[in-house]
Amino acid sequence: MIELRNFSYTYGTAGTPALDSINLKIPDGELLLVTGHSAAGKTTLAFAMAGIFHHEIGGRIEGDLSFKGKDIRGFDGMKELSRHMGMVFDDAESQLIFTTVEEEIRSGLENRFHSEAEIGRRLKEVMELCEISHLKHRAPHTLSGGQKQKVALAATLALDTEVLILDEATAELDTKAVRKVFSILKRLKEAGKTIIIVDHNIDDFLEIGDRVVLLEKGKIKAIKSPSDFKATFHTHEESTTSLPLSKNDGQPIISVKKLTQRYGEVLALDNIDLDIYPGELVAILGENGSGKTTLVKHFNGLLRPYSGNVTVKGLDASMVPINELVKHTGLVFQNPDNMLFEDTVEAEINFGLNNIGVKGPEAARAILHSLELVNLGEKQKVFPRNLSRGERQRLAVACVVAMKPELLVLDEPTTGLDAEESDRMMQLMRKLQQEGHTIVMVTHNLQIVRDHVERVIRMESGKIVENSVNRKFSSKECVSKECVRGGTCA
């Protein structure tokens, strides 16, 4: 159905091709998985297959691309192609155009001139399928990242196109939601749809995939069956390095007592008790909306308790001003693009130092040291937004590390990073821990938690439901339920 023959593509001003001599034939009804590291050409391939380069973006195109046996140029633009192909992109926010979830899905259906009865039926069906019926009247800006992705997926599924392309469309979904998407795709595959999943992590979909295409530097490195792929590229090495468990008999660096937080009527945190000790590497796990980010925002005073209290190094976090607390707690947010605004990497780090009064040679030393820590030593004079996503994420860490806070909190530090970059980020966490920082990371990535983290705190609907030591790092493992009330258990 979709066929690429010697297909190469070069972006407008780029010197080297983003896709190089691709030969690939995707028959009707196939579920194809496309994977590879960052900048391997995955998204470019997805755009190419949807006809976006031929009809919208342009650039230098060589070789042939056909869809349904016809040269893709022969279609009447995206107008005609979009009747056959649906695509879900990675940035969910930008795919929501209307002010309610229902309108978002309905308006797409109306574009296809279905009858009112059919629109109503499909609308109901797809909202139930994606488990978003309860969000029907909600505005996009009130949804979580995962919910937005579900709505974007539902809006595309509703159109019932023969081909469905998902470009990193599940990055912000938690495990439960990914399993749901898995079952939806399985059903669609059984119904004969052609599905192309492009992702740096395809593990969740290997079971229903027909073939795996591995891209590297714009070329197809290998095409394998999912089982072969698993065997060849997925020999996950069990690391043997183990760090001694931190001693918990001293004073906690963070102490949370009976913390409750509300957003209007919603109870975001419900009577939380938690102690974090110097030198620990702790992960806060939980599904979307369980209160993880809300909790850590109390550690540097961005949020003040509704009731209960939080102490940071003995300071009452509800009384001390933020710019004082940030000297002790460094918070790195999920999206580095929300903080980068200077013209050079160096100036970006200097901004934070300046804010806490570190200037001159001391600042220069701190900049050099933090850049070396995050492996960006060579990029001092580079424009921050020209860095890759992984590099920008590491720069965000450097900006905070330079301020030398004892506690470092990272909100989803590996979201949107490929396996290699995620690993590099985790190595960095370890290095920072060895330098004496206490580290708290908020994540929904179980693999990372299993491999790297000493203590796991699991949250559900604003409560801590598990607080346990990772088996890998301790022989003194404990049964989670016993630990819930006791705080730490080593």
């Binding site: 309108e103 800006h141 929300n338 934070g352």
Partner: protein, 261 residues
């Protein structure tokens, strides 16, 4: 967070009106607001719009804008006082005896009248437009605009601009938090606002620009841009529609015939 210019899901007589008649009424009000210089006519319009919002229980929405509008009015009146001198002099902005014996910057009746007219115009236009936006679903607004043959690209631009207002507010807040976490303390008041422009506006604008490609492609892939016509039966007229458009039309006629231009 205070939401501005967002559809409010309720059931009022304004919500039940046909979006086309609302657009016609708002267009009429804006045209009238531009053409008439009579403060009484403008005041009647502002009062009428406010009464309509009371009837629909949406007065709070309009009152939210009061602070901005009062600030705008004061600025406009000051501007006219500084730039326009006509009619009688009622006093001086800097009274006699402070800097000079005769007083500086005379305040004239002509300037005050003109400043008031300008302010009332803004009140009428903004209130009317806001009532249209908060009582009409963006998709209905889109249908109505397409039905009067506004090109689909412009309609989408308008709908998207409205949709992204709260998202930008939230993103601005997130960026603000991220900068606070880096110890940024621009201070309060006007100076703080000016100081925080670069660290907040640069990421906000850069992120928005980065979003345009996916937004455009989504519209294409969901077939919005190939949508040209709308079945007319989806838009029905009721008595309120006729009354609203009628009211504005009668006022318009009154202004033209009564010589209140």
């Amino acid at each position: 967070m205070k939401e501005i210019m967002q559809y409010i899901n309720r059931d009022s007589f304004l919500h039940r009106m046909n979006p086309l008649s609302k657009i016609a009424a708002v267009t009429g009000i804006i045209a009238l607001g531009v053409f008439t210089t009579n403060p009484e006519v403008l005041a009647v319009m502002v009062l009428g719009i406010f009464l309509a919002s009371l009837g629909a229980g949406l007065q709070q929405e309009l009152l939210k804008q009061l602070k901005l509008l009062v600030f705008l009015s004061v600025t406009l009146i000051l501007l006219t006082v500084f730039t326009l001198k006509s009619g009688e002099t009622v006093g001086y902005l800097i009274p006699a005896g402070i800097l000079t014996a005769g007083g500086l910057v005379p305040v004239t009746t002509g300037a005050l009248d003109f400043g008031t007219v300008l302010s009332l115009r803004f009140f009428a236009m903004l209130f009317a437009f806001q009532l249209l936006v908060v009582t009409t679903k963006p998709s209905d607004l889109m249908k109505a605009l397409l039905a009067i043959h506004i090109p689909v690209d412009y309609v989408l631009m308008f709908v998207i601009a409205l949709r992204f207002i709260p998202s930008l507010q939230i993103e601005g807040q997130r960026i603000h938090e991220a900068q606070l976490a880096r110890g940024y303390n621009p201070g309060k008041g006007l100076r703080g606002k000016i100081m925080s422009v670069k660290p907040i506006l640069v990421p906000l604008v850069a992120n928005s620009l980065g979003r345009t490609q996916v937004l455009g492609l989504t519209m294409d892939m969901r077939g919005y841009r190939s949508r040209q016509s709308v079945e007319k039966n989806q838009l029905t007229w009721n008595k309120t529609d006729i009354a609203a458009v009628g009211c504005v039309a009668v006022m318009g006629l009154g202004v033209v015939l009564g010589g209140f231009m």
